[in-house]
Amino acid sequence: MGNEIDIHAPGVEMRKSLCYFCHANCGVLAYVKDGEVIKIEGDPNYANQGGLCCRGNSALLHLNHPARINHALKRVGEKGEGKWEKIPYDQAIAEVAERLNQIKAESGAEAVATAGGTTRTDDWARRRFMNQFGSPNGFHNALLCWIPTFMAETCVAGWSPFETDLGKAKVVMLWGMNPGASSLGAMRGYTDLQKAGMKIIVVDPRFSETASKADLWLPLRPGSDSALALAMLRTIIWEGLYDFAFVRDWCQDFDALREHVRDYTPEWAAPLTWLTPDQIRTAARMYATNTPGCIQWGCTWDQLGTASTTTSLTLALMRAVCGNLDVPGGDGMPGPALNFLTDEEMEANECLPEEQKAKQIGSDKFKLTSWPGYTLISDNARRTWGKTLPAEWFCEAHGPSVFKAIITGDPYPVRALIVNATNPVNSYGDAKMTLEALKRCEFLVTVEYWMTPTALLSDYVFPAAGALERPTIVTHYGATDSFLGGKRAIQPLYDRHTDMVFWRKLGLACGQPEKMWPWETEEEAYYHILEPLGLPIGCYEDFVDNFRMYYPPLHQNKFVANGGFWTPSGKVECDSTILRELGYPGMPTYMGCSENEVDDPEVAERYPIVLTTGGGFMPYHHSEHFQMPAIRYLYPDPYYTLNPELAEKLGIAEGDWCWIETRRGRIKMRANVSPEIHPRVVYVPRGWWFPERDGSADLSNPFGCLESNTNVLTSVDVEDCDPMGGSWANRGLLCRVYRCTELDHEYKAADAQWSIPGSAAEPGVTVMPSDQKMARPHAPFEAPACEEAPEGFYRVWQNGQLYQEGTHFRLDESGWLVNPRTKGYHDAYTGWRYDPDSELLVDDETGTCYTMDREEVVFRGGVRCYPGPAAPYEVPEQLTWNAEGGFAQLADRPYVYDPASGWLVDPETGAYHDAYYGWLYDGATGNLVDEATGARYDMEYNPIVAEEAAAAQAGAASDEEGA
């Protein structure tokens, strides 16, 4: 029957791999024959229980797609002309390295930036390169995805409570999250639990896949999340629905918070959110009275522009006051990986000088997610957890500001950009400006699967190895304490290489020392990461074969065991001290989203419809998979959604091509007329471009990357960005919609006109980025005066405690340093660890032991020696005391007497000898052997005759064989 392939045929090997097309990283079984993957299927014994989505199922199409980039390409024509020379990978690396070094010499390392997208990469390797190179200007789409939320939540409670313990939860709130189209494995869990009685609240302007299954659906005005969250928090606090005992024991400044939210009533929020006060109260009560419960993080929080971090801060407090933090059935706070290496430990952040950190673009404005905020949060994490969160993702340049710097040279010129695993035109805000930046970038290098618009404009394009060609680990951006892994199914095809290999090769070519890049493959690096776990494995593949995943023993209520939360004050901080220190309000203070009819009535007059963008939809992921005909066939055209009422008013019919226009520009999509959305809202999905076109044909819109690209509509203007986290504006923008007419149907060059700030009416740079105002100016902060710290120590003003510089160990009242990770004591002068078993101090770096008087302790054969005339223990009479060596010995034999066991130990071999005759103990037979004569004795010193000895030996030998 046709084209079937037998996965059970001889010679077919099954390899446990992980999907690499989104963050769910489902288990994939790859069937490999003769170095070729012949089939894949979902792994039934992994979290996905055999499930794979459209993306995952397309892995083989992805692997062998004719348009994949397979060789290093060097531009030979004009930029964007699409003329390439295929050159060897290493030659391309050498040429790029030379150019980067030249730019560094001329303009400083900060003139080289790198852009990433979402996890298709091992980003500690990128950071390791950038740190050694000396540039602080690496960035991802981190600010649209979790990072500002993570940082705000960490300010409140010491880590992001992102690991929901749904099994015991009574309610889950899915806020701005649609697992039904983005993380299907999770959706299954929600569905199963819902059928078992758990309630699901969905907050989403659209009747999404998930909303259609919800118990309660709150269709709010897009972007009004901060108002809804504040009104819910207010309801919970003022209706007394919070967890009194938890708040009493663990929350600081709660009374201030209660007063702060007094005016955020549901009645206040109703006109902002387009919900009724009753809906808001119902939701608040459902969440707060069904404890324990979870709030699942959703991307929306980080995509509201100005209101982003306000919203996530409010929600962080909502879960806290309801007592849902780190409890069974609540929102688990994993903390950093204490038992294996964190990404941060792989990043070599110590290589980046302070003066370079200060040059990070955007860090003067959006401090929470760049070096200023990261330093405060990270130092606090080191003090409280003993490890910290990675700098990659959590501490990055502000991407859009880097693009603006490429165009304007403000604050300084950025001349080179290495783009790895992203197509910024489609994935970053203000696509027209971003495209211009890519065109203007003096030296553009792209590491890619595909010929994206960005790759097309590059000077060098490097082929990237993808799913099935690389091993994959899952540690949630290095922010969790569990570890999941999969093998590569095959070695990369053609001249494709993984990103770690790319950064390593580039680092070495730039002159970075070999010893800083000791791992040639991911497998070696991952093994290094895992080694501290002490598992019985000899390599990374052993881990996948025998363990596949590592979870630390599930410890909830860690804050109880720890004696506090991992904040500077040790409490849940309702008025965050870190935020205040950074110049931000410590409590959530309402901000509208970047564009709304209340704050911007004159804009709303011209653009009366509310736009929400960015929702994920099957079968695509971000701007990926549009090349795959088998998938594209199912969803060939971009569709936006509008209500039938609005469609009728605007004369739009199902399937009509329409223009969607904001102040910044316009795009066209086809109409999906559906009552799933409010009559004043349109929903525009993200990512669209048309890889089937000839990219070079129209460089104002290569591959149609602007034509239906929702990011033409979004804003990255400084005043539209979240003042804390820097998230730009994707949700709740104002737009208008009209049908494409015959005369106005084609996308024109004028539609591609870029500007800074974003405005279709005023092209070019009209206001320099550094002259743009922030949505909320920083408030100066002065820490309360406190006692000065002795040299080598610093004092944390929030708790008055002293900490050692460098190690961040706390100086205890007893005069000892306390290691937060192990809770062990260390000597305050030397840093040596106190080992309670031996009652000695141990220098962990050298392994040397010291007495409490800091005198070195000598060991021979593992036996502690006491040089001096007197033995501190009773020496058996047949032995003599060696005063110089400090141990007892038998005559002049070199063996050391071990008072604990009563045996003599040979310090050379570690073998045991009997303390009367010095005979060697033979473990295999249990005999004593006189080495001089070869005679054997039993443990009672009775001689053993030869036959018995032979039999005993033979028996031992066969035992060994049997074993």
């Binding site: 004719p66 348009a67 397979n70 005909p629 066939y633 969803y635 060939p636 048309f690 089937e692």
Partner: protein, 326 residues
Amino acid sequence: MKHHYWEAPIVIYLFLGGLGGGIFFLASVFDLIVAPGAGPLFFAPVFFALAALALGCFFLVFELGQPPVFWRVFTTKTAIIKWGAVLLTVAMICGFVWWASYLPLLGWQWAAGLAGLLAPVRSLMIGLAGVAGFGIMVYTGVMLSTLKAHAFWATPALPVLFTVSALSTACAAIALSLGGAVDAAGLGLLVEELIREIVHEVDIVLVIAEIVVLLVMVLSFYGAGNVTAQKVAARWVRGRTAPLFWGGMVGGGLLLPLALYLAGAGTAASEVVAPILVLCGGLLLRYLCVYSDERAPIPGEERYYERLKSSDTRFMTAWKQGENKY
């Protein structure tokens, strides 16, 4: 919704099959019963019948996805199409033998021996061909009417309609070709005139019958059919297909030739134009019916397929498997 799996070649096949079958049937009736010995007059009509069936079979086989597997139809027992194939084969072989036995009419003396050999089985052959031809006429309708997924086909009226139409077109074809290749004189001429007259009268009856059956079928679907059939009927009666139905099928293909038959008896209008119109009407009928293959959709099915692209869309052909672009 996905439909129109059968397209123009099947339309032509059904038309030609009915036409050829009808000619065989009428030829056998005349040759064996009405006017024994009139065989030579049917030399040309039977030739056209053979050509129609051959051409129809060509279209049928051409439309197949894997034509080399065609022979398998003779290995099964019950499928309707299998019976169609058998009837076609019998009709064509017997018809051809009958026809070959008259080859000397063309003045081909080399065929005289063969004709002599075949002459004794002429009656048997035309008899078998006539029976098979009748079967083919009925079969073209029955095949569609057994496909009950299609509400508009799944009616007993359809085989009746197709049979009447097949006979009617056969009459028209006979009217156009009777006596071709034969220099009839005397009695032969009289017989030819007699047959023409009968065919003329019969076709008038058939056209009237066809109008009745057609209107009964379409209008009863329109008035009382299930949702799908009603939709199709509405399309015929007052929708997109209405001009073709009323103007082409009913007007041009039935009423106009009827009028010409009645009013212009003996003129070229009646003897040439009307039969041609009847033939066109027959083809149009098959076209309208074959393209009325709507199924009752699974809820949402139409919306689903509307959003898919046709197979010539750029992204479907932009990348060729096996070719490495970069």
